[in-house]
Amino acid sequence: MSIAAFFIRRVVQALFVLFIVTLFVAFLIRLTGDPASILAEEAASVTEADLERIRESLGLNKPFLVQYYEFIRGLLTLDLGQSFFRGAVGDLIAIALPSTLVLALSSMLVSIAISIPLGIHAAVHKGGIADQIIRVVSLLGLSFPNFWLGIMLVLLFAITIPLFPASGFSGASSIVMPAVTIGIILTATNVRLVRTTMLETLSSQYVMVARAKGLSERVVIYKHALRNAAIGIVTFLGLQFGNLIGGLVIVELVFNWPGMGTLAVEAIGQRDYPVLQAAISLLAVMIVFVNLVVDLVYGLIDPRIRVE
């Protein structure tokens, strides 16, 4: 299969996934209750006619499929409609999405930058002191639940030693605490992954052949072994990004970070369908998009996929 056909097929698959996800989101959140009754809760007496008026003004009385169609059309024209409570959905997303992306990408990049050299070092010097320390520490990092780790970091570095803001967004230093929380867990996983993948690659025959050519150990490791190991590592990082987006919800809440997770959770509490639909759909788009990129990168690294 040519890389173009391969890629087109992946795009078609991705669009199908998005269709199913948005349909599910739109359908399921409407099972959770009637937003009109929540809106009307504060009023002293509400008649059925009042509720009907609210529904009509929010477009909730239209058939489900019409509502879904309008939502999809909105997504495609980037007109995401109005929040029930807080103005244009587009404006809310415009604030929340960059915050989340900055947090996710910065923690992931830092984690990659740390875990690849550490993982390679541990693999090359398997069984040595550094390897043992790296394995124990990474296991420790894996064992912390991220919300607990977040709270502990806040206690230590924001309250006991007030180095960084405890929560919210107030300048560049605000990102340190949530990013470190996520980064520790990502790095712990990634170091172990890089180590295992490199160990497997280093034991392959072509690595021994490269050594028998007289190449230096540096060239053997970074040219011959790492590129093969990268095939597995890149795939894993793609999946990890998906998990990360999901996992961010909790960390964002702990640090009151104004991102997509916080936005989505608030929208759930208020039954703010337009916001919730848009937030979850965008998260799905991001995850699908990242996996598409992974597929493409995969093809670039591994000629067995690129060339027929």
Binding site: Q205, Y206, M208, L215, D302, P303, R304
Partner: protein, 633 residues
């Protein structure tokens, strides 16, 4: 730099200061593994001299330390967790400009020698090349490293070397990735890489073990020709005495890390002094040794076998008098290949096309062929592991695939399968006893656990093990013992037919001889029929009553063992037989004239492009030959 542009010259391989005969002198090499190299000695006190322009073969069975020796010479053994404990390897280095001891050089100095003056070809061509770099990149890399040439110059030289190993279309192959090449082509590329700096010593570690026999013949021929052209000394590591006989000037036999015997190839192979060497040689099936004999013959394995069999006779087949026990009629199996955006079926692998053969009671029918010939597909279809696309399989007069699924179960009992890999075909979490009794309980042959246990005990004794072994787990047994266990498992259902799919290919030659003896003995006692699927013509000549040759999914020749071996008719059969190395050092070097060109074509064809079906014609009683032409691709 001048000689680099013409790889064929060998001006730089002889320097004036070199000591007369030996290019490498190994003395008292010991290599250990484990904590400080103390727990296991892989090589113990090994010494040899490698003469200029000569080939020294190091022969031994698995675990003899032959591969470890070669890695130790390159200073690479520590990457496997071993360490050189003792010994020197004196070598006159051109790049370092002095006589050096390879075992005491620094890593930096060793790197200058590796790949330049001493290079190596490894066993597995499929995994020796880095999958993510082009062939050109991987070969140029060595040239740029050791010769300091520019990338463009290295690429030009690389093309010359690809031509030298007779790779067709070398220019295109420069930019090809390893997965686009067949095993034989990859091994040629490996040879080009190893020879690219015109080494003084080439170490070839089982370079043809993973290849088909016709491809093996090509590779061996190329190594020998280039050795003569470039004046390279070769250390040839092998377990295969026949290959060694074709390649070596001198032979060193190793066992458990120690040297058993060394000398010229004629002396070691024709007049071995040590009992171990004699036993090893007796266990090698030699092609042509069965001339004039109609029956299979047991192996003489003094000191290795239990000596239960009469070596002169073999099992007698029960032909012509009876109807065939098993028969395939027009058996065809095609596998669909889906490609492109909509997963359309664009190609089909024609694994088996119109295969019709008969298996008579008490006989061994060998089904031979190379990769992609479809021999395993036929076996698996008969065992109902895969459904045929069309055609029939008759057993005892009944058409198996026309019966309802439940009724077919009986044939799974009557026809048993023994796989190639004795390590993979036993469940590691079950005791040997549980594995053996499982089919008996499934098929309701044993009515109680106690009865099944008794059967297991008796069978273990039958295959040369002990009843107590039933309590143990597979990892406690060697490869040969495991294959005996697999045979016991096959026998518990009291089958009429056993399909042995490359069942002895993974075993060391002495163990292979014992297992083959056991199989022949069981055949004699129980009138078993074997469908013996293999690529090894020498083994076939020894054990088979009749032989069927397959090529690209079709039968090209079928007849009695004598007819096929002594009077082969089809060109492919002849080519196959020509490619088998002979263990006959008295024929002298260069006696081996294998076909030089040609890959084994793929049985994959575009949809609609159906292969022509071979018509078999009888040319003598029981001897059928396809009238198709054999066209090597």
């Amino acid at each position: 730099m001048q000689e680099l542009t013409t790889p064929l010259t060998s001006t730089n391989t002889v320097t004036a200061s070199k000591p007369a005969s030996a290019i490498l002198s190994l003395r008292n090499l010991s290599v250990g593994f484990g904590q400080n190299g103390k727990s296991v000695r892989a090589v113990e006190d090994l010494s040899f001299d490698l003469a200029m322009n000569k080939t020294l073969a190091i022969v031994g069975e698995s675990g003899s330390g032959k591969s470890i020796t070669s890695l130790a010479l390159l200073g690479l053994v520590h990457h496997l967790g071993g360490s050189v404990l003792n010994g020197s390897a004196l070598f006159n280095s051109r790049v370092l400009g002095r006589e050096v001891d390879l075992n005491s050089l620094s890593e930096k100095e060793l790197r200058k020698i590796r790949g330049d003056e001493i290079s190596m070809i490894f066993q597995e061509p499929m995994t020796s090349l880095n999958p993510v770099y082009t062939i050109g990149t991987q070969i140029s890399e060595t040239l740029m490293l050791h010769r300091g040439v520019s990338a463009a110059e290295a690429r030009r030289l690389t093309k010359d070397y690809l031509d030298l190993v007779r790779l067709p279309d070398a220019l295109r192959l420069l930019d090809a990735y390893p997965h686009q090449l067949s095993g034989g082509m990859r091994q040629r590329a490996m040879i080009a890489m190893a020879l690219s700096c015109q080494p003084k010593i080439l170490i070839a570690d089982e370079p043809t073990t993973a290849l088909d026999v016709t491809i093996q013949a090509q590779i061996l021929h190329i190594i020998r020709e280039l050795q003569a052209e470039l004046g390279t000394a070769v250390i040839f590591i092998s377990h295969d005495m026949s290959v060694v006989s074709e390649m070596a000037d001198d032979v060193l036999v190793m066992k458990s890390g120690r040297m058993v015997e060394q000398g010229s190839v004629e002396k070691v192979l024709l007049n071995p002094e040590q009992e171990y060497t004699q036993a090893l040689l007796a266990a090698v099936p030699q092609i042509g040794s069965m001339k004039g004999q109609s029956k299979p013959k047991f192996f003489m394995v003094p000191g290795l076998s239990e000596g239960t069999t009469n070596p002169s006779s073999g099992p007698q087949a029960d032909h012509n008098t009876k109807a065939p026990l098993l028969e395939t009629k027009g058996l065809t199996k095609r596998f669909d290949i889906r490609k492109g955006l909509f997963s359309r079926i664009t190609h089909r692998v024609h694994a088996a096309e119109q295969v019709s053969l008969q298996l008579y009671p008490g006989e061994t029918l060998a089904l031979v062929g190379e990769s992609g010939s479809g021999k395993s597909t036929v076996g698996k279809t008969i065992q109902q592991l895969i459904e045929p696309t069309s055609g029939e399989v008759h057993f005892d007069g009944q058409s198996i695939f026309k019966l309802p699924k439940l009724a077919r179960q009986r044939f799974r009992r009557e026809i048993q399968y023994i796989f190639q890999d004795p390590y993979g075909s036993l469940n590691p979490r079950l005791t040997v006893g549980q594995s053996i009794m499982e089919p008996a309980l499934t098929h309701g042959i044993a009515t109680s656990k106690v009865e099944a246990e008794n059967m297991v005990g008796a069978l273990l004794e039958k295959v040369g093990l002990q009843p107590e072994h039933a309590q143990r787990y597979p990892h406690e047994f060697s490869g040969g013992q495991r294959q005996r266990i697999c045979i016991a498992r096959a026998l518990i259902c009291d089958p009429k037919v056993i399909i042995a799919d490359e069942s002895v290919s993974a075993l060391d030659v002495s163990v292979q001889a014992q297992v083959l003896n056991l199989m022949m003995q069981l055949q004699q006692e129980r009138a078993l029929s074997y469908l013996f699927i293999t690529h090894d013509m020498a083994v076939v000549e020894r054990v088979a009553h009749r032989v069927a040759v397959m090529y690209l999914g079709q039968l090209v020749e079928i007849g009695s063992r004598q007819q096929v071996f002594e009077n082969p008719q089809h060109d492919y059969t002849k080519r196959l037989l020509d490619a088998v190395p002979h263990m006959d050092p008295s024929r002298g070097p260069g006696r081996f004239k294998p076909p030089l060109e040609g890959e084994i074509p793929s049985p994959m064809r575009a949809v609609g492009n159906e292969p022509a079906i071979n018509k078999l014609e009888q040319i003598a009683p029981g001897h059928f030959v396809s009238q198709s032409d054999f066209i090597p691709s």
